[in-house]
Amino acid sequence: MTITIKDLHKQFGKNQVLKGVDLTIDKGQIYAILGPNGSGKTTLIKSILGMVLPDKGHITVLDKPIKKQWKYRKQIDYLPQIANFPPNIKVKELIHMIKDLRNSPSAEKELIDLFGLGPFLDKKLSTLSGGTKQKVNIVLTFMFDSPLLILDEPTTGLDPMALIRLKELILKEKSNGKTILITSHIMQFVEEMADQIVYLLEGDIYFKGTIPELKKQTGQTSFEHAIATLTTSENHAENTEI
């Protein structure tokens, strides 16, 4: 098991974001973490990364508890949601810097070619457009060879060509036996990529399973509608068995 989470609680002020999440993530699969805005997706991911410190609960990554640890992050490549980099440095220097900080072998050259970032290498980050910044962000995430990938809204701002490249890249990493966690609001993207769906609602896991299981449970034929049914059935308070 790549990640195990037991009874995870987190509260921000009066707002209880995670209410006892239990989750196991198995090796070599793509998990999509879904849920309405404010359901605790990012908090869950950040707890795994050790950026948010849980009030209660236990997390292990690659069979080791992560509390007060930081070296385990060497096993994780994380793509943050908003890519906002130091404005005064060049793309080339940022890539060099992250490489230097992680001190691991990296394969940035192919990725730079893949996303056509060559002409931007000598530009300062403040001059780049949102989509280009996201491409840089992707290069920074995928250039290392870590067993665990966490992608927070990876499709933001990408043009269709880059999106296709990104999908190919994710599938390639999966075939290398990596475990991948994705959050996204683009259902079509999730349907294409994910093996397992983890649906968070109000701080707890409301559904976990494959897409066919989800469709069967909700009685919907399209994935998008199945997810929408999950969200609205809460209002009728009838669907409690998972």
Partner: protein, 260 residues
């Protein structure tokens, strides 16, 4: 930590504001030397400017840097790096680059003027040393304020208030208390009150080295008696070191417990 420091430092010394800050001191240094034609007087004027300006720039720069690099800090937090190293590296980067602007900006004109042949070299070095201390102290304080406040506007507000309090209000309160309690012996009180504020402490330290303490009257004599000695000087320096260290302890404590 050294890597973070290196990159923060490079990032900052290439920003426009570092140059503006550096050029400001450069011009100030040249103008003062050529208008005054007297190193000692120039040092006094510089002290008056520095003692107010450094804390202000240090606080504003610190808060600004922290908030501007928030997303980047998040990127770093996801890397296999210890939290404390990230914040210490950034702090040293900001404080280091500001100190460099100060030392180079003032150092160049003074060196060209012939400082090394003048007697004022010790006074001048003391000016730079206290200036550097003030930079580190106030950048540290501003980092603590910024890390404690998610809201940028609040963070800026508190930072400016802190500066205003230590640079202006504190002296006012100090003077008022001297007037109100003038019947009582206030030697120890004024000594302690001065020591508790790094800005006042720096000012007194420099003034007393400049041999104009006769202008300070009776209290000046007490100050001279205390700060003028080697022990007094060492105690003052120790207090400045404490002032530098304290915000860092708080910063480390906060950094370990914060959610990002």
């Amino acid at each position: 930590m050294l890597k973070i420091l290196k990159y923060s430092f490079y990032d900052l010394i290439r920003s426009r504001w570092s140059y503006v800050y550096f050029l400001f001191y450069l011009i100030l240094g040249f103008v003062l030397l050529f208008l005054n034609n007297d190193v000692s007087k120039a040092v006094i004027t510089l002290m008056n400017v520095i003692i107010v300006l450094i804390p202000l720039i240090g606080t504003i720069f610190g808060v600004m840097y922290y908030y501007n690099s928030r997303e980047f800090t998040e990127l770093l937090l996801a890397q296999p790096i210890n939290r404390t190293s990230i914040f210490m590296g950034q702090y040293l980067g900001v404080a280091g680059s500001l100190t460099m602007s100060l030392v180079l900006g003032l150092g160049i004109p003074f060196l060209l003027y012939g400082l090394l042949r003048s007697d004022a070299i010790f006074d001048f070095s003391l000016l730079l040393v206290t200036g550097s201390f003030l930079t580190f102290i106030f950048v540290g304080l501003s980092f603590v304020i910024a890390i404690s406040n998610e809201n940028k506007i609040k963070g800026f507000g508190y930072a400016v208030l802190l500066w205003l309090f230590l640079a202006v209000v504190y002296d006012g309160l100090f003077l008022m208390s001297l007037i109100v309690f003038e019947e009582y012996p206030l030697d120890t009180f004024s000594l302690v009150a001065t020591m508790l504020n790094p800005i006042d402490l720096s000012r007194i330290l420099i003034l007393l080295k400049l041999d104009i303490s006769a202008l300070l009257g009776y209290t000046g004599a007490i100050f001279k008696k205390f700060f003028g000695t080697d022990i007094g000087f060492l105690v003052s320096m120790a207090i400045l070191v404490c002032w530098t260290g304290l915000p860092l302890l708080v910063l480390g404590y906060k950094a370990k417990r914060k959610d990002f």
